[in-house]
């Protein structure tokens, strides 16, 4: 029982194969691909313009049309086709998910790895700053930032990135610290390897799987945060559709027209769920520290 199997270093191909064996991960991947395709091909998938307030999209008393018939998912309170808006809204969610999360990931990686490797004063200062950011109620900070800069798609992405890098930084800090203490790093140092070489050739490659995992999981957080900001009316500006602002605009009608909350809500849920499923499976497949959980 002593010769334990190697705890790390999967080959990429086998990782993919192992991923393919997880039904839930595959399901997540398929749903993500479908969302991406839906977002890209939205103009061909629906006959309507997402921002067109159609005259026959509202009843005479100004109520939205229920699902069915001309409008498969019904219309919103301005008489726009809900399906069209959800399809176009996927663009917003995906762009923000990827951009915001990408920025957050870069900041988080730079801060976390630097602090974890350099230690000393620089490391301490970086980590105290991270602690400080942790102490900020993220949503409050995002709301303040969104209020300062008049929100647009890119500003929202920036705001989300600013509040979202902390987690990544912390995780990568811990991981880098423990990596830096691993014997093979010590071995590299005894061979005379410089810091940059150790960081780039030996530490970063080990962090890549974890970065991928956090990148994937982070997208779901980001999608949720965008939706929440939009739900509070400080996200993406109308009439640009985003899943969050569809709900924001229509939430008062949740009783009279539940589909206006239900469909975009399901869209958010499914996309976030898909990224979570994928990320979790990737964690099992790629991340050596989490190995052996099932």
């Amino acid at each position: 029982m002593s010769a334990a199997a190697d705890p790390a270093a999967p080959r990429p191909r086998s990782a993919l194969r192992r991923l393919a064996r997880r039904k839930l991960a595959v399901l997540g991947l398929v749903l993500i691909v479908l969302t991406v395709l839906g977002a890209i091909f939205a103009p061909w998938l629906t006959p309507y313009d997402p921002n067109e307030q159609m005259f026959d999209g509202l009843t005479i008393t100004g109520a939205p049309m229920p699902p069915g018939g001309q409008f498969p998912l019904g219309t919103d309170l301005l008489g726009r086709d809900l399906l069209t808006r959800i399809l176009y809204g996927a663009r917003t969610s995906l762009i923000i998910g990827i951009v915001a999360n990408g920025i957050a990931l870069v900041i988080g990686t730079v801060v976390g790895v630097t602090a974890g490797y350099v230690r000393g004063l620089t490391g301490a200062v970086l980590m105290r700053f991270t602690d400080l950011m942790m102490a900020f109620p993220a949503l409050l900070l995002a709301i303040c930032l969104a209020a300062i800069f008049s929100p647009s798609l890119w500003i929202v992405a920036m705001v989300i990135a600013i509040v979202n890098w902390v987690q990544t930084a912390r995780v990568l800090y811990t991981e880098t610290t423990s990596l830096a203490e691993r014997e093979f790093i010590a071995a590299e140092r005894t061979l005379g390897a410089g810091h940059m070489r150790i960081l780039l050739r030996h530490i970063l490659p080990h962090l890549v799987p974890m970065i991928i995992v956090w990148g994937t999981l982070g997208i779901s957080t980001t999608v949720l945060l965008e939706a929440t900001l939009s739900f509070l009316g400080i996200g993406v500006q109308p009439p640009t559709a985003s899943w969050g602002n569809i709900i924001f605009e229509n939430q008062t009608y949740f009783q009279a027209a539940p589909w206006l909350v239900f469909f975009p809500g399901m869209a958010i849920l499914i996309l976030a769920l898909s990224f979570n499923l994928l990320g979790d499976a990737l964690r099992d497949v790629l991340d050596p520290t989490q190995r052996g959980r099932d």
Partner: protein, 542 residues
């Protein structure tokens, strides 16, 4: 043309506003006792009459405090309040109020002329930071107060225990209305000083109700003032205000019989349902309110410096459609004044919805393909939706407006800068009149005084001639000149429409829903000054 308009206005004024002195006849069916529950979404900030300026606390303060003047319940007609009677000098520059004897504050002390003086000094003192101080600008010595060089208004004097004389620095036809504002409420000095900055949490007035309990963020309870100076008033023993309740929740609770009046009205999502149910619809009281929803166009920012462009925009807006979006709970507006405001120009049709005409006008102005601009809007429902409807209308004539949906304060800030907000949809921040007088819609929001940095005239429209005309109208303080004055105001607003700095979009209607046990005249439920209801005069039937 001008004459005709004036006459129409005069007729309207005569029909809508009977004699000033005619007071309210008590309801013979009214029952004493009982308590009601009213809900609001937003917290009540303060009950200090010098400060409170919110939707929720305005009518609450009205019930706790009294001013020298008052309105006949359910109407916009002035009647004497704490003043038993008053006299206006012939030049309209001196008002002498004779105080009602035996009026007691909630703390038991009798109200005197000194209290009136103290209250006016207090509200105009900059350290009070009253948002209503500016209303008292006509009182002699106001400027010295405002710049901090005086601590007392030189124009207010108390020749006797029960006499207050107020001298004005210019004639002001609205002065009696000003004295009926909450800001002019009479407060006892000792209670104010005892409470310090927290007077707003421990209010002491002379009103029909007194504050019994206040749990911040949850509930306020008002208790009947048994010593109230108006005989038989109020009917209710107690009113509970529950705050922090979503309008939709409030309505559902009303349907469950837990709430008597939802203070924020019927939420749009439930409106159709309620109105389609005869039993519920019967408990809805509809009335006008002194409100106009409008789009401002910044006349200093090209291309809105061109009146043709502004007219084109006026013609491009499909007001019916916008009203449809808010479930038809408004009437299309043609001019800045709402229909129930004295001075409203009857028969004026405004700019008709005419896309082709608008396009032509825009082409004439040199923008055949339209232009790009920005539309600022406050970010609470339904305003972003309305903005999107406006955006779609504008796009019909080639104007591409991008929407800036921001927090209220940020929109106000943008409007106060000369070069920031080309267009603003006023919803959520729109003008609800402080008092039922035509002048109230002019000064800060359409006059030159407001067209300054940080001002509220977001269209930056400044027509000095109209300013002069407005000043003239306001100096016609003699009641005999009332009709001539209204005619003048009507004329001012018509001229404004010529210049089209605004697109008046709609006048929101008020729909107050009440529980079955609520009694009292319907007018009390759409009281133009006490929103949602005039607490002093409503009663419960069981």
């Amino acid at each position: 043309m001008r004459k005709l308009l004036a006459t129409t206005a005069l007729l309207a004024a005569m029909a809508g506003a009977p004699a000033l002195a005619q007071d309210y006849t008590p309801d013979p069916n009214a029952k004493e006792g009982g308590s009601i529950t009213i809900t609001y979404k937003d917290d009540v900030a303060t009950l200090d009459p010098a400060i409170g300026y919110d939707w929720q606390n305005w009518s609450m303060i009205k019930s706790i405090f009294d001013g020298l003047m008052d309105y006949v319940p359910g109407t916009t007609d002035l009647r004497p309040g704490l003043a038993e009677s008053y006299e206006i000098s012939d030049d309209g520059m001196t008002y002498t109020f004779k105080l009602r004897p035996g009026v007691k504050f909630h703390n038991g002390r009798e109200m005197t002329a000194e209290d009136v003086k103290y209250s006016l000094n207090r509200v105009t003192n900059p350290t009070t930071q009253s948002p209503g101080a500016g209303f008292f600008g006509a009182i002699e010595g106001y400027d010295a107060m405002a710049d901090g060089s005086a601590t007392e208004l030189s124009g207010v004097s108390t020749p006797g225990e029960s006499t207050v004389v107020i001298k004005l620095s210019r004639p002001d036809a609205t002065f009696l209305h000003v004295m009926a504002l909450n800001f002019a409420s009479v407060v006892p000095q000792e209670a104010v000083e005892a409470a310090g900055a927290d007077f707003g949490k421990q209010p002491v007035g002379t009103g029909a109700f007194k504050l019994a309990e206040w749990t911040i963020g949850q509930r306020l309870v008002f208790e009947k003032n048994a010593d109230y100076w108006r005989e038989g008033i109020p009917y209710l023993d107690q009113i509970t205000f529950e705050v922090g309740q979503e309008p939709i929740v409030a309505l559902l609770r009303l349907q469950n019989g837990e709430v008597d009046v939802p203070g924020d009205g019927i939420p749009p999502a439930k409106f159709v349902e309620v109105m389609n149910d005869p039993e519920q619809a019967a408990r809805v009281v509809e009335g006008g309110q002194l409100h106009t929803g409008y789009i401002t166009m910044n006349v200093t920012m090209p291309p809105f410096d061109d009146v043709k462009v502004r007219k084109a925009v006026n013609m491009a807006i499909n007001k019916e459609r916008i009203i449809q979006i808010i479930n038809g709970r408004a009437v299309p507006a043609t001019q800045p004044l709402p229909p129930s405001m004295p001075g409203y120009t009857e028969g004026y049709e405004g700019y008709k919805y005419d896309v082709e005409g608008a396009k032509a006008l825009l082409a004439e102005a040199g923008h055949p393909d339209g232009f790009e601009t920005e539309l600022f809007v406050m970010n609470t429902d339904p305003n972003p939706r309305i903005a999107q409807a406006i955006q779609q209308d504008l796009s019909q004539i080639g104007i591409k407006a991008s929407i800036q949906s921001l927090a209220q304060a940020n929109v106000i800030a943008a409007g106060g800068e000369k070069d920031q907000a080309p267009m603003i949809w006023s919803g959520g921040m729109a003008w609800i009149a402080d008092f039922p007088d035509a002048s109230n819609f002019y000064g800060p929001i359409l006059g030159c005084a407001g067209a300054v940095q940080g001002g509220w005239n977001w269209s930056w429209y400044c027509n000095e001639e109209l300013d002069k005309e407005a000043a003239e109208a306001d100096s016609m303080a003699d009641p005999a000149q009332k009709d001539a004055r209204l005619a003048k105001w009507s004329d001012v607003y018509m001229k404004i429409m010529e210049d089209a700095p605004w697109v008046p979009v709609f006048n929101e209607q008020r729909y107050t829903m009440k529980s079955a046990r609520m009694g009292g005249d319907d007018a009390l439920y759409v009281d133009p000054v006490s929103i949602p209801v005039n607490y002093d005069y409503v009663y419960v039937t069981e």
